[in-house]
Subunit: 236 residues, 2 copies
DNA sequence: ATTGACAGGTATACAGCGTACACCTAGCCT
DNA sequence: AGGCTAGGTGTACGCTGTATACCTGTCAAT
């Protein structure tokens, strides 16, 4: 035990190792299971030891976001603004899909770290560099919102029809009964769910290509931005 | 005490009263302070008593969202789809601003109650009723996302320049030092923050009209939807 | 060589959370 | 009269973040 203690002390657990461990732990067990105690245990250390390296859990989460930001590709220089933005957003999205915990964490952050400010500054720079006015860029950044991070607030779930409840072990007669119930309670949702299920080749899947939906909206917005830019839009 | 117990029993605390109390409590003290214990206390009852009326806290939150949904105006019939959608979204936004707790709660909901399904169904109905194809409507609903609820994921905060940190009691030399710091670290953000501060008549305000930003994006999207509809867009 | 500061790990403790489980009691139906 | 039940109570468990005090090894300055 003395040896272990010494071995632990030989690599004295700095801030980066704490953040790194937090990221991989959250990747593995999910953000809801990332507690200070659990993280400490993972590092072979007592919970309070973490507080020598991060002020509190909020700061830990801030740090985790910072490491995520560092994984996002920088803006490609000398590219048209639209594709530069597009590429970077999609890079952010890839990073975000690697770290599912990041979405809820980003959503709840209140403080803005320098790394995050730098990330945003990059976007603003792309728009301004593309010739968009300061005014338009301002509103465009608001419009981009969380899509800047590669995610959308997915609040519309069209999987309701095929599998309301989530369990797959359900007698077929119950399923059809529920489908009929839905068809009459939510006729419009039903039509869409039906169409999505129809298009879907793999019967198992959600019937909805998240990546397609994301790029659909992203391009819709980018095209809108471009149009406003071309007609010298201004907020009066 | 017997009298109190009897008085309490005379109005035996049903599900609706629990939900109503939860909503007003959350309105007053914020969602982060809404605990089962606190809510029970507010109702003059022991915490576990609540569990006779809601299965658990999740279901309580679901119920709170349902009451919020009931405050949103139904779709106005016989209106062009664009303005019908627009009106309803803005009605949702008003409800949401009355209940600040709703945004984080909606964001974290996993189950979808019938009331919420009905709400969504109404939107789908407006698009389909306006002649949009099932396919386009599907993607349009995804694009709408959380904006359906009247909020955007506000992840871009342009108040960074004027008041990084939030405290107003700060020596002016420190403030200018920070501004200079920002100007060189985040030159692009700085330009935008500066412009926003300039436009702002009230020096105190955030320098950013949230309502304007919201409607800006909403209309950008609606116009995009319309354009796609006019050119019979389809996802192949 | 001794001392003292300090960085970093530890131990204990507290207040708060959601909620499982057992219990009680008043009112109603047979 | 007797039991069922709806609804409120009391206690307890395991979990959370973190304040506070303590200890110990390392290193710099005397």
């Amino acid at each position: 035990m003395t040896q272990l203690a010494e071995a632990a002390r030989r690599v004295p657990l700095n801030r980066d190792r704490v953040l790194e461990a937090a990221v991989t732990l959250a990747d593995e067990v999910g953000i809801e299971s990332l507690s200070m105690r659990r993280l400490a245990q993972e590092l072979g250390v007592v919970p309070m030891a973490l507080y020598k390296h991060v002020a509190n859990k909020e700061e830990l989460l801030d740090g985790m976001v910072d490491t995520l930001v560092s994984e996002i590709d920088p803006p490609v220089p000398d590219a048209p603004w639209k594709s530069a933005v597009r590429l970077r957003v999609l890079s952010a999205r890839r990073a975000l899909l690697r770290h599912p915990w990041a979405r809820p964490v980003i959503e709840t952050r209140t403080t803005t770290t320098p790394a995050v400010l730098g990330y945003m500054d990059g976007f603003v720079g792309m728009f301004l560099g593309g010739g968009l006015s300061v005014d338009l860029t301002h509103h465009v950044m608001h419009a981009l919102g969380s899509r800047m991070w590669g995610f959308t607030q997915e609040v519309f779930d069209d999987s309701a029809g095929r599998d309301a409840g989530g369990q797959q072990s359900m007698p077929v007669e119950v399923r059809t009964a529920m489908a009929m119930q839905m068809a009459e309670s939510y006729p419009n949702l039903f039509r869409i769910a039906l169409a999505a299920a129809h298009d879907d080749e793999s019967v198992v899947g959600s019937g909805c290509d998240d990546q397609f939906e994301f790029e659909f909206v992203l391009d819709l917005l980018l095209d809108g931005f471009e149009r406003l830019h071309e007609q010298d839009w201004t907020s009066r």
